[in-house]
Symmetry: C2
Subunit: 113 residues, 2 copies
Amino acid sequence: MTDLYQQTCEVCRADAPRVPVDEAEVMLEEIPLWRIQQQEGVKQLARNFKFKNFIEALAFTNTVANLAEEEGHHPKLVLEWGSVEVVWWTHKIKGLHKNDFVMAAKTDKLYEG
Amino acid sequence: MTDLYQQTCEVCRADAPRVPVDEAEVMLEEIPLWRIQQQEGVKQLARNFKFKNFIEALAFTNTVANLAEEEGHHPKLVLEWGSVEVVWWTHKIKGLHKNDFVMAAKTDKLYEG
């Protein structure tokens, strides 16, 4: 199977299936630093990235934001001094699509540089 | 009195006083779209700004981030498609300093353009 980070987002419709738990567990093995959280009933993938100051955290915010625009899939980015929390989920299906795992893997690659 | 947005942040020490409630109420009149919220016992000033897409929200994130670096006082910025939530508080005193009201007023000015 192609690594997640090498894949691209596919068009997602409102009736697209959410990722089943067993598939989610397999994909999480490729992105072990991400956690699945639930916000108002919606499952999301989240990871907190650390930086040594505000400027570096801001730069990473922009890098992930540019990726989001390229792929047409947008996360929540929580920027604070020294950290950025990235949260991926698919609004249309109110949960996790495979695209979110792909984007999480790509985010990891951007962090690794 | 000089308008809040025209003031600059003063150096804040850990033993600086938090803003008393009556002073906070007076300053809030200058920034009526901000709310005071409590997060784990820490009072914060928060406002949600709306945009027509992700790119405009990202641009505002950068504008506020640049102000933060200039003033040496950093907020939490929650960037999503079409919105940015800006949250100001003073970590050193675990609450609201006058600086936070000044920064909120400056943030409003940046949004007004």
